[in-house]
Structures are given as structure tokens and as C-alpha cells.
Symmetry: C2
Subunit: 135 residues, 2 copies
DNA sequence: ATAAACCCTAGAGCATGGTCTAAGGTCAAA
DNA sequence: TTTGACCTTAGACCATGCTCTAGGGTTTAT
């Protein structure tokens, strides 16, 4: 059984983060020592590593919550359910990707229209472009 | 001179948003009517459209603040300064882009390793992959 | 025995970009 | 004149993901 600081070190997160995850239902309390210290089992360690893995691939804590429910009830779920979940996330990520690409393009258009020279920016094309009504 | 609701309609933002921008120093008060109503001039309209344009190309409100300062003092700035600012933002956007692409790839790897079939997810490769220690 | 290092709780604070509420005052039309 | 649509303020609230503080108890090493 690990104390919170030990698990925190193991998982490279802060103690506060672990308590935060607990408060938000991502990781269930487990046991407590006589003095009220949290004690983490193997299962808890596994769960934390699941959370961190999911965070790393871009799931929000909310989505991880849902994933954990899928995991807990996985014997009643099909692979199809799980894959659907991931695919839905992929399409969200695709939207964000498109949005960021759009932004990048706009910025590049701005930048390349500007001479970038020494002259005062009184009539800088960048500032002028930003002032234009878009709606 | 426009009242706040008129400018809000014109700019397609809420009245609250305009007051919020004012509170955060993005748009200076301008005049007030006898009853204390905000009155927006042509210059203010121009400024709002600048803010909205900048938001649309992906600048944060903080960055817009800096851009507005550049705009106000543009006679003392060079095109070089302005272009530098935009280019710095482009490199931030590039980082975000790379991060999102990484996430997308991870998700696709997860998804494509999963059979997606009817069988119970007891040994679903997705859940297993998420559980693996990454550090 | 005492100080350092750890643990606990509840709750505030941060950054981002607003939205909403309460409790009022004002203005225009019917 | 009274209703409804508009305006004012200060401050609370939302989501996201923590981080920090205050005020306390415990454990461990010297």
C-alpha cells in the first residue's frame, strides 16, 4: 500500500492532483490508515496509470470519467462500444485540427502581406487587415 | 453615437461581452449620456471590429491587448515589430498543431487496433493500451 | 525530544472568456 | 401613465484542471 506522496512520485503528478481526481470521482478512496492517510492499492495504481494514459492521448477528465465507467463495466460492453467512444473523440479532434489550421493560414496570410521593414507601421497591412469588418 | 445594444447587434456579440472587454481594458469607455449610458463613436466601432477580427484569427484577449497597444502607437513602431508579433503567434499555433496531430495519431492507433466487434470488451485492446504505464 | 517531512480538510485562487443575476434607473410607445 | 425594452453596477457563476493556503495532526530521523 502506497501513501499519497509515494503514488504521486510514481505517477509524476502532485499530491493535490490525486486528491483533485478523487474529489471528481476519477479514483475511488480505497483504504485509510489509522491516522486517516490515504492508502493506495495495486488496483488504484493501475487506475491512475489509466487516467494518465488517457490524458496523454487527449481525453478530458470528463471523458476519462466515462472511459473509466466503460472499463469497470467492460464485461457488459462490447469492443464496438469502446471503439465508438474513441472514434467520436477522433472526430472532435479533427474539428479542432481544422480550426487551428484555419487560424494558422489566416496568420500566415497576414504575415506574408506585411513588408516587415523598418518603416513606421502607420499603414501596416497587418493592422489594416485586422480592422476590416468580417461580418 | 451608438448605445451598447446597438453596437452589440452590429458586432454580433452580447452587451455583456462589450462590458467585459471594457473591464479588461480592451476598449476604452468613450462617452456617457446624461443617464450614464455608454455611447460608442466611430473609433470605438473600429476598435471592436479590430478585436473581433483578431479573435477570429486566433489571438487571445491578452494578445489582442498587446496588438491594440501596437496599433495605438503604430507611428512609433515599424512594420518589422508588427510582423514579429504575428510570427511569434504563428510559432505558438504550430506547436498546438503538432500537439493535436500527436493526439490524433494516438487515438487512431488505439482505434485501429480494436476489432470493434460485438464481443465483450473484457480484453479490449483500447482499454489495455490506456492502462499501460507510459512513464 | 524535537524538527523535518509527511499527511489531513475545506476552501480560495488562477487563467480563459465570458454569462447571468439582482436591484435598480431611463426611455419610448400606446 | 404605465408597460416593456433598454440601460447601469457589482458581483456570482460556468467549465477546465489544477495549485495553493491555512490550520491542524502524524511519522520519522537525529
Amino acid at each position: 500500500m502506497l501513501k499519497i506522496g509515494e503514488l504521486a512520485a510514481l505517477a509524476s503528478v502532485s499530491r493535490d492532483t490525486l486528491r483533485f481526481y478523487e474529489k471528481h470521482g476519477l479514483i475511488t478512496p480505497g483504504e485509510r490508515s489509522g491516522a486517516g492517510y490515504r492508502l493506495y492499492s495495486e488496483t488504484d495504481v493501475h487506475r491512475i496509470s489509466f487516467i494518465i494514459g488517457a490524458k496523454e492521448v487527449g481525453f478530458t477528465l470528463n471523458e476519462i470519467h466515462q472511459l473509466l465507467e466503460l472499463e469497470v463495466t467492460k464485461d457488459e460492453k462490447s469492443c464496438y462500444d469502446i471503439k465508438q467512444f474513441v472514434d467520436a473523440k477522433i472526430s472532435i479532434v479533427n474539428q479542432r485540427l481544422a480550426e487551428i489550421k484555419r487560424i494558422k493560414k489566416s496568420l500566415q496570410t497576414l504575415s506574408s502581406a506585411c513588408c516587415g521593414g523598418d518603416e513606421p507601421a502607420t499603414h501596416c497591412t497587418i493592422l489594416e487587415a485586422l480592422s476590416e469588418q468580417t461580418n
